[in-house]
Symmetry: C2
Subunit: 274 residues, 2 copies
């Protein structure tokens, strides 16, 4: 296993971890805690506009590990699918403006009871937006979600499936975002992380505690759950990824605490558990 | 796709669907609705004793599709693991007394942050109880659970993994229990159902609705969710299974309704959706 980190050079704040803060407030928090990376969410970017968002992040000296998020391709009708594609094209432009390392794709659920058709719609959607992404030099990061989100967030639910999908496209255009919360349970986890080599665009951390505090808001602070964080981090590094590591925690209890104290705890746990 | 059912000959009431009823009350409900199969839970058997439970089911002319449940093998110490094995030996004897078609194994979670070790403990546990199960002619049915239960109920979380585990043992001793709630999301579902041929000991149904009404109590009535029930049932039949089909729904809202009306709805949805 690789050694614990001694600096926060690779730590990135996924903005939803401090969900109550605006983008400017999040950026200020990062600077106060000497963090170099941030991952904004589109809703927080859009409420101030992409130009101002880019200015804020630049002025605070922050690099953008990813933009959350594109995806959500499937829909029952062709016009709705086109509308989803159009939204992804805008997301690509926003990611380019922010110089994000990738655009995270949460691929979307099936509109009805046909999961195979939805999976095809995801592939078709990625194919449709890839030229725009390549023109803007924004790699697309397919994030396999935990199977408990198969019905409402993503029909792409295992790392193996995400790799198979990514491999239909050029490696410089479509890669993978690995989030421990979504993939830790996988019996073939380490084989598949190894197979992700050359495609990993992001690595997200949190923890899985028992009982789970929620479904969408089910994530916990690193160290409070059962995930073998350092083992997974080591495997991801052995697969060649040495970029930013995003802390992405949706948790009502953390959201109700003072953001600075959450960030202090985040850094502490990052150094001790990741 | 196979045709809808026209009778309830294969429908089995998993007792937890009518969670408030005793075993006797559940048996009476089955008779009132002309059901031939039931799947008791051990806590409901133990509160009246195995002899009386067997007498009640026999007197009501009910066959037992499965006994819920054995398993929960992993533990931090050897004496605790032995205690778990001893409990499984008793479960096998109870299943034999009830002439259950199988004993369902919910394999248990990891005691700490070492999921590989826990998976080995499951394999060792099954090996330890198999001779007793064979002597009592009780097949052991490994039930892969949804990955959202990996931390608190089962480190066996995919059908592929369950098959690989079962295949380490003779087919007449260790098989599989397929529950749609646990496996519907799997990108390789139909390949793996096909691969289950000769090992399928049980088939459980419910549905996955959005939003999920809970985690442990997250299941819904057939037809209220996104699961392709008839497609999966057809695949299970094509894999050679034509035994009882258990309706197993943990749902607070259903539990608060009159049991007879839940059972009427169960039969209606079984005929229209399965």
């Amino acid at each position: 296993m690789n050694a614990p980190f001694t600096t926060t050079d690779r730590l990135s704040l996924n903005q939803i971890t401090l969900n109550r803060l605006t983008l400017r407030e999040s950026a200020e928090s990062c600077v106060r805690h000497n963090l170099k990376w941030i991952a904004p969410w589109r809703n927080r970017v859009q409420e101030i506009g992409i130009k101002e968002a880019a200015t804020i992040l630049r002025d605070h000296g922050l690099k953008v590990s990813s933009l959350c998020r594109g995806g959500f391709f499937p829909a029952p009708t062709e016009p709705e699918r086109q509308s989803n594609i159009d939204d992804n094209l805008r997301a690509i432009e926003e990611a380019a403006e922010l110089e994000a390392q990738c655009l995270v794709l949460v691929c979307g659920p099936a509109p009805g009871r046909d999961i195979d058709a939805a999976r095809q719609m995801v592939e078709d959607g990625i194919a449709a937006i890839l030229p725009h992404a390549q023109a803007h030099k924004v790699p697309l990061g397919i994030e396999p979600l935990h199977p408990m989100f198969a019905a409402d967030r993503s029909v792409i639910v295992t790392l193996a499936q995400a790799i198979d999908l990514a491999e239909k496209f050029p490696a410089d255009g479509v890669g993978l975002v690995l989030d421990v919360f979504h993939i830790w349970w996988d019996p073939h986890l380490y084989t598949e992380i190894h197979r992700s080599k050359g495609r990993i665009l992001g690595f997200h951390i949190s923890d899985w505690s028992v009982p789970l505090p929620g479904i969408v808001t089910g994530r916990s602070m690193m160290g409070d759950g059962v995930i073998e964080l350092r083992r997974i981090r080591t495997a991801v590094e052995n697969a060649g990824y040495h970029g930013p590591i995003e802390v992405e925690i949706m948790n009502e209890s953390l959201w109700s605490q003072p953001p600075d104290s959450v960030l202090e705890q985040t850094i502490d746990r990052y150094l001790s558990h990741v």
